[in-house]
């Protein structure tokens, strides 16, 4: 309920229909409405544009860059931006532009992967807990509480800082070190990123479960997993889409924070967080080490958040910041 949607004031407004006798009127499908509402939100549209440009840069940027992020220009150590190196170079003579592009693509990939996985876990755990209730629900809720009590930042930092190159490797160590570092990071971030969303999914699923069409399906004798996949999850898809989007921003933020302290992506690979970790300490003296990754990361997160806000307004007109009519 919000005053900005007068349609809701007419509490019993019939939906325009194509019913047999009803006059044919222009009826917008839900998808059209969502798109229209989204497009009306200028901030969100701008965010989407920025995001698309950044994604294109991350994918095709290396083609337009003269340098690879692994190349070392022995003629230019720590040089200011110039025509050869538009963003300058690092202490070891690596092109900042190439590094920023590489960092951007790494951060984007990590953000997207974490968002998809953690929202997926949240959807499955939350919906199943709500539908089955009983012991399954209790255990799920307890695990959620447990993971919330454990400081995730600390755990991920411990896991990522462990030295696994030693001689007395355990099976677990070998298993972990078999995968690239950043994939371990993705798994860890996803593992600690789904709990709050799962709670929301659960409470929404509880109300969807009480809806009559879910009960109808149950009384028809349709098996539970089918009901969850066919009736419950699609009806909370708005939440899942919004959650996944905002999770992208949260994951990028988490990745950069961890990498800033050296607990995330490790050299020689790079990410925006790694670059910022180096750059921030020299922001006053060598600003070109700091400004490109800082601007990139702020733009990236801002764009994702703007898209997320826009999606929420468009998908869920009852949310507080509802779309303008």
């Amino acid at each position: 309920m919000s005053t900005n949607n007068p349609l809701e004031l007419i509490d019993e407004m019939p939906t325009p229909t194509h019913g047999a006798n009803a006059p044919t009127s222009k009826r917008l499908s839900r998808r059209q409405l969502v798109v229209r509402r989204f497009l009306r939100n200028k901030t969100a549209v701008l965010g989407l544009l920025v995001l698309v440009v950044m994604a294109l840069l991350a994918v095709f940027g290396p083609l337009i860059s003269a340098w690879d992020y692994r190349d070392v220009d022995r003629t230019a150590f720590l040089s200011e931006p110039d025509s050869r190196h538009p963003f300058g170079t690092t202490q070891s003579g690596v092109d900042m532009f190439a590094l920023t592009l590489r960092g951007l693509s790494k951060s984007l990939v990590i953000g997207l992967a974490v968002a998809v996985i953690s929202t997926g876990i949240a959807a499955v755990v939350g919906a199943f807990a709500a539908y089955f209730g009983g012991w399954f629900e209790r255990i799920a809720l307890w695990v959620i509480d447990l993971l919330l009590v454990v400081p995730s930042f600390l755990i991920i930092a411990i896991m990522m800082s462990a030295d696994r190159s030693g001689t007395n490797q355990s099976g677990f160590d070998r298993f972990v070190s078999a995968a690239p570092q950043w994939i371990v990071l993705v798994v860890l971030l996803a593992l600690f990123g789904w709990m709050l969303a799962a709670r929301v999914v659960r409470s929404l699923s509880l109300s969807v479960k009480e809806r009559e069409y879910v009960q109808a399906a149950r009384f028809m004798g349709i098996p539970a997993p089918v009901i969850i996949v066919r009736h419950i999850l699609p009806n909370i898809s708005s939440l899942l889409i919004i959650d996944a989007t905002l999770n992208v921003a949260a994951a990028i933020l988490a990745e950069t924070s961890l990498s800033f302290f050296g607990f995330g992506v490790k050299p020689p690979d790079t990410s925006l967080g790694v670059l910022l970790g180096v750059g921030a300490r020299q922001a006053t003296t060598f600003p070109w080490l700091f400004v490109p990754p800082a601007v990139t990361v702020v733009l990236l997160i801002l764009a994702v958040n703007a898209v997320g806000d826009g999606l929420r307004d468009a998908l869920d007109p009852t949310s507080g910041s509802g779309g303008r009519v």
Partner: protein, 722 residues
């Protein structure tokens, strides 16, 4: 702008003078799909002390009108026309000026009393706020007045309850508190927007009584906005019928009910099942549904649903004019016209003259369905097989309390030992107010889980004992139709997928499924070519037909119907009721029909069981129970239901019940109804003792009629004040 004159002048209007005058009111909202023309030209005069009802179905613009008069629409709404209070234009006043009128000269009672009261302030705080806003006075005096107001609207123990929070009040009490707030400053106009729609009938009767008393005390004029034609018949002096944002008929309550001229009004009145109809009264079927007020086509908005519609109905929208004589006289001529009078009886219909001349009734205009007799009904009941047997059924829930420290504090006796039986080809109506346990009973039947106590037998089998295949097969024979067709159909699935879902789950082949879906669409009266549409593209009545088609897909023997028509508009209800009646005869179905609307049950059921607080208080053949109710609760329930007949309503004597439904967690000892029983009060002390100590069993009072009262033969009762 000064409002001093208005607020200073108490009762500047004598009885019978016009207090509020609305001319050519238009309200338009911008929306995604285009402009929503919610009100399109409304005129009326409201006289002091009079009650005018605005009647209409969903989207007719009746609630929008009330908010426009109060000046409570958001700025985005475009409102034109004229609203005069005591002859002064108020439509152009700003918020500050309107604030001085609201709550003083005119006040409002909203539909949902739970969300309409601020949850974090006590009821007293909110009434005192209303008092002090318009009449500055010391807090102690304002609180004293608040207590008096609560007493006036019939809140027991007002001294203590004034400190309660809204959530500590029941629905009926909240609505009383709302009324207390509305009359706090002795207003000239009270607008009541569906004030009893959210309430049960016995509570509705109480609240309507309070509203009448409030009107007597204040002498205010009342605008009653409702869709319930029964309520209107009992409350209103004059009636405005709205359709698609326009008034389509206006007149005295007798004119509208006994001499309706507009086919829509006629159809509306003809489609309401009536409690006082002894025989199975044929119901008018008004096809289609109200149009959307976005992008209205030209012509009369009712034309697509009107069997009389002619060429001109499709092209020009008729004006609201009098049709009593041969000469049609325009009733209203614009805001300043002295000739403007709405006292007469006017209808907006090109064909009204013909309706008046030929004396057309709803049976002449609309298709009516006669009761369909099934072959099974010829067989005596005893020889038919039982399809559902419930014996000694109990369902108790733990009562949890507290958000911070959630814990069990007691037991809810939702269903507390009931026996029911449904035989082949018959309809058993299960009626009662909310919280009586009727829905719990229904869920127990459907859940296939062991109840707290007692047994449920479906087609000779105990569902709780079945596993796997046998369980699934029994599911096939028992299907449900839900209350809200929008909620019971997944909006993301096409009609084909919806109806095919149970077929797929039970392993039908693709080809058989397609054929069956087509067949079902035809059976319930839908166009089979519409199978690829989504439920959102159908009207309410059509959606309910989809729900019925889905329930019928597996050829069940017993259909459980959970308030299947209560979410539908009146004009659409009748079509669905007629369809259910016809399907029962054709397919030999049995129905367990749960409803709170006793009139609908009377129309469709063969036998009826009345529930109160988890128990059955009266049970038997529908005509015997309705014509000769023996239990005091049934008697009160039947008398509380408003009948859409002004004459009957005026002469009717109502048995009002005291208080509210006790909590099912703490039911009274002995007879559960004794705390509210008007009959008990008429009994000698010695007999009253029995009500307290001994729970009454169901005792026979007729051939197929039992009633759970120790004093079934006593016909006295003591009236209580609402």
């Amino acid at each position: 702008m000064t409002t001093a004159t208005t607020s200073a002048g108490r009762r500047r209007t004598g009885a019978g003078d016009v207090v509020l005058s609305v001319r050519d009111l238009h309200v338009t909202f911008p929306s995604e799909a285009g402009d929503v023309r919610a009100v399109r030209g409304l005129d009326f005069d409201l006289r002091a002390g009079e009650t005018m009802a605005i009647v209409g179905e969903s989207g007719s613009g009746k609630s929008v009108t009330s908010l426009a008069v109060m000046g409570l629409h958001p700025a985005s709404a475009q409102i034109t026309g004229s609203v005069r209070l005591h002859g002064e234009e108020i439509l152009d006043r700003d918020d500050a000026a309107m604030s001085k009128l609201r709550g003083k000269a005119m006040s409002m009672v909203f539909q949902d009393p739970l969300s309409a009261l601020t949850p974090v302030y006590t009821v007293g705080d909110q009434i005192v706020e209303a008092i002090q806003l318009h009449r500055p006075m010391p807090a102690a005096q304002a609180w004293k007045e608040a207590v008096e107001l609560l007493d006036l609207v019939g809140i027991p123990n007002p001294q203590a309850r004034v400190r309660s929070f809204p959530h500590e009040f029941s629905g009926g009490m909240r609505q009383r508190a709302m009324i207390a707030m509305a009359i706090a400053n002795d207003p000239d106009v009270i607008i009541a927007d569906e004030p009893t729609t959210a309430l049960d009938v016995t509570i509705q009767a109480q609240v309507l009584e309070v509203l009448k008393r409030a009107q007597r005390e204040t002498g205010a004029a009342v605008i009653m906005i409702t869709h319930d034609l029964g309520v209107v018949a009992g409350m209103a002096d004059r009636v405005t019928v709205m359709y698609a944002g326009r008034p389509v008929e206006q007149g005295s309550v007798d004119d509208i009910y006994y001499r309706p001229q507009m086919p829509y009004t006629i159809g509306l009145l003809g489609s309401v099942p009536r409690l006082d109809a002894a025989e199975r009264q044929p119901l008018a079927t008004v096809e289609g549904n109200p149009p959307s007020v976005v992008n209205l086509p030209p012509g009369c908005p009712f034309a697509p649903r009107c069997p009389l519609a002619e060429e001109q109905c499709w092209t020009t929208e008729p004006a609201l004019v009098e049709h009593s004589g041969s000469l049609a006289r325009r009733v209203t001529a614009g805001p300043d016209s002295e000739a403007a009078t709405v006292a007469g009886h006017a209808a907006a219909c090109h064909l009204a003259d013909r309706v008046v001349r030929d004396g057309l009734r709803y049976t002449d205009i609309f298709p009516v369905a006669e009761h369909a007799w099934s072959a099974l009904e010829q067989v005596p009941r005893e020889q038919r097989q039982p399809v559902l047997q419930i014996s000694g059924l109990k369902r108790h829930y733990p009562l949890m309390k507290g958000a911070v420290l959630r814990r069990r504090v007691g037991t809810v006796y939702a269903v507390d030992g009931i026996d029911l039986e449904v035989r082949e080809g018959e309809t058993l109506g299960l009626v009662g107010e909310s919280g009586c346990g009727k829905s719990t009973t229904l869920m127990e039947v459907l859940n296939f889980l062991p109840p707290t106590d007692g047994t449920i037998t479906v087609l000779g089998k105990n569902p709780a004992a079945l596993r796997g295949r046998a369980r699934k097969e029994l599911r096939r024979d028992l299907q449900i139709v839900f209350q809200d067709p929008m909620a019971s159909l997944d909006p993301r699935m096409t009609v084909f997928d919806l109806i095919a879902e149970p077929l797929k789950a039970h392993g039908w082949s693709k080809a058989d499924t397609a054929a069956r879906v087509e067949e079902l669409m035809a059976t319930v009266g839908l166009d089979p070519s519409h199978v690829n549409r989504y439920p959102g593209q159908f009207s309410g009545g059509q959606r309910q037909r989809i729900g019925i088609a889905r329930a019928l897909a597996l050829k069940p023997k017993l259909l459980v119907l959970d308030e299947p028509v209560s979410a539908l508009d009146v004009s659409i209800q009748a079509g669905v009721i007629n369809l259910l009646d016809q399907l029962k005869a054709e397919l030999g179905l049995s129905y367990l029909f749960v409803a709170h609307d006793l009139a609908v049950i009377r129309h469709i059921a063969d036998r009826v069981a009345v529930m109160y607080l988890g128990s059955i208080v009266e049970h038997g053949d529908v005509d015997q129970v309705y014509d000769n109710p023996r239990h005091p609760y049934t008697q009160a329930l039947l008398s509380a239901i408003p009948i859409p007949d002004p004459e009957t309503e005026r002469t009717r004597e109502r048995i009002l019940l005291r208080g509210e439904l006790p909590s099912p967690a703490d039911p009274p000892s002995g007879c559960k109804f004794r705390t509210r029983c008007p009959r008990k009060l008429a009994l000698p002390e010695s007999d009253q003792e029995r009500c307290v100590t001994e729970p009454p069993p169901l005792l026979p009072v007729g051939t197929d009629h039992t009633s759970a009262c120790h004093f079934n033969d006593t016909d006295r009762h003591v009236d209580v004040v609402a």
